[in-house]
């Protein structure tokens, strides 16, 4: 009976099969990215010139030392994928948290701005949102130049408007509710109202936005790598691996399938978790 809303949301989430499957896959991927590099059989950049394009184990001529095969330069696919997982997840987390921090600050400020300034700011955010995120990221990279750090900055900038909108929308919605007025009449000041009372009520919306931003960020970083605007060879990054393998898809399909599968599974599991969280926090299903 004394369940908090968070526990209630967890109960809904736990019963959601696809969300739990997504969480499991995501957990495995995260674990792999954390401990994987130590278990990686080879250095990701080491080239075995005698083993170029060795197929994975399940092919007849697969070799045990390179269980997932090698690429066109004889580098071990498994080692590259594991190192790529760590890089991708690390970058994604950095990008999303940087964007969330900036976006939430701007969004919270916007909720308290006067209506003219707010309209101006929010329409500017709409303008940024009206462009597909990847297109905008490409445009930004085109201005500041290719390379991994610049790609990271570009994706941060691309993700900010979402957070601004969600934060501003959620705070404005909360501010119109009776309990906010009641709390003001209890004598709570602006800061106390925002941090103690409104903030806990907008966290669910922000968590959901955070998860979907993870998948956008991961995909955009990989896409920039694929287009040659992000991570540059020989860095083991999933998008860059895809682009390097493009020429060999017909006779060495594993070089492209495996990084593609890694990106696909990660994005899918994040989205499943995000969907599950959204359902779990949805008050219409909950109470």
């Amino acid at each position: 009976m004394t369940l908090s809303n968070t526990k209630l949301a967890w109960q809904v989430f736990r019963r959601n099969k696809s969300a739990m499957t997504g969480s499991l896959i995501l957990l495995i991927i995260v674990l792999m990215s954390l401990v994987g590099p130590w278990f990686a059989p080879h250095d990701p950049a080491q080239q075995f010139s005698d083993k170029i394009l060795t197929p994975p184990l399940w092919y007849d001529n697969g070799e045990f030392l390179t269980p997932l095969g090698t690429d066109d330069l004889g580098r071990d696919m498994l080692s590259r994928l594991l190192h790529g997982a760590r890089l991708s997840l690390k970058l994604t987390i950095m990008v999303v948290f940087a964007a969330a921090f900036i976006g939430i600050l701007i969004g919270a400020a916007a909720a308290f701005l006067n209506s003219g300034l707010r309209t101006l700011l929010m329409r500017f955010m709409d303008l940024l949102l009206s462009l597909p995120s990847l297109l905008l990221a490409i445009a930004i990279v085109a201005i500041i130049g290719p390379g991994l750090p610049n790609a990271v900055y570009a994706v941060v900038i691309v993700l900010i408007p979402q957070f601004v909108k969600v934060t501003q929308g959620a705070i404005s919605e909360e501010l119109g509710k009776d309990y906010v007025m009641a709390t003001r009449l209890d004598g709570a000041g602006h800061t106390r109202l925002l941090l103690h009372h409104v903030w806990p009520n907008i966290i669910p919306a922000l968590i959901v936005q955070l998860t979907f931003s993870f998948s956008t960020a991961l995909l955009d970083i990989a896409a920039l790598g694929f287009l040659g605007l992000g991570a540059q060879p020989p860095i083991a990054e999933w998008g860059t691996m895809l682009s390097e393998a493009r020429a060999f898809i017909q006779f060495a399909p594993w070089t492209m399938t495996l990084p593609g599968l890694a990106i696909f599974l990660t994005v899918l599991s994040i989205n499943l978790v995000g969907d599950g969280l959204r359902d779990a926090f949805d008050p219409r299903l909950n109470r």
Binding site: M1, K177, D178, Y179, M181, A182, D186, G187, A188, N201
Partner: protein, 262 residues
């Protein structure tokens, strides 16, 4: 009887168009006045959009009127800081499900006014919460539960408890029972009457239920489109209504009751 709270010609209008060249205002209060003594109840009646709720918000300090005076114990509180204000005049909202923070326990919601008024330490606040919960007929151990675990009637009791935390002298209740089941309405009304006897509270009771008003209040203020149509003792207003609008309102209520009784 000395007046505890009195309003003199309160006026309020809202801007309805944002066009800077064609500003239009909607007058929602066109000069409302009344006096209220300790332990008395003033009922404010009128249809939706008559300005009742705006009046309530002005009385508790959520909004400032454009002009007029609001005297509490003979001082004009419109000029006061908000501090003494929210402690003496407190509000009960119409819908308790919306007026309680869904992510705060009952204890956190009830403690809020005490913390902001810098009253007591954590132990004395705990005691006060238990005391007030008992006063509104709830068990003290309910304090650690969340609002969604309570029924509508219990939630309204919690909202009343929150209004009582600071020992106020006036409680403004904006249709406190209209969101509740009919069976629960009587319990809440009786609770409000008991509390009035025990604590010598003055109520400003906003309602559109004339039957309830007749049974509940000492004075009545009839409002229509922001205008004060009639103001006086309940007996006089109901037996000899002076304004045409009051007569219409009473007839509508009487014919409604006939339909219900058939």
């Amino acid at each position: 009887m000395p007046s505890l709270l009195s309003a003199k010609l309160l006026r309020k209008s809202y801007k309805v168009s944002n066009n800077p060249f064609k500003q239009r205002y909607l007058e929602v209060l066109k000069g409302v006045s009344f006096t209220l003594s300790a332990g008395q109840t003033l009922a404010v009646v009128g249809e939706s959009g008559s300005g009742k709720s705006t009046l309530a918000r002005i009385l508790v300090g959520a909004e400032k009127p454009d002009s007029g005076e609001l005297l509490f114990e003979d001082s004009n509180i419109l000029k006061d800081s908000a501090f003494s204000w929210y402690r003496n005049i407190r509000m009960i909202f119409q819908n308790p499900a919306a007026s309680l923070n869904p992510r705060a326990t009952i204890r956190q919601s009830l403690e809020e006014p005490l913390i902001n008024a810098k009253l007591g330490n954590s132990q004395s606040r705990k005691d006060r919460i238990a005391e007030v919960l008992d006063l509104v007929g709830l068990r003290p151990e309910y304090a650690d539960r969340y609002p969604h675990t309570f029924s509508g009637g219990q939630r309204q009791r919690i909202a009343i408890a929150r209004a009582l935390m600071l020992n106020p002298k006036v409680i403004v209740a904006d249709e406190p029972v209209s969101a509740l089941d009919v069976s629960v309405q009587a319990q809440i009304i009786n609770l409000l009457l008991d509390l009035q006897d025990q604590l010598d509270l003055a109520y400003v009771f906003i309602s559109h239920d004339l039957g309830l008003v007749q049974h509940f209040s000492d004075k009545v203020l009839v409002m229509h489109n922001g205008e004060q149509k009639e103001y006086g003792r309940v007996g006089e207003v109901f037996s000899q209504p002076q304004s045409k609008y009051t007569i219409e309102l009473l007839n509508a209520s009487a014919s409604y009751r006939k339909v219900i009784e058939k």
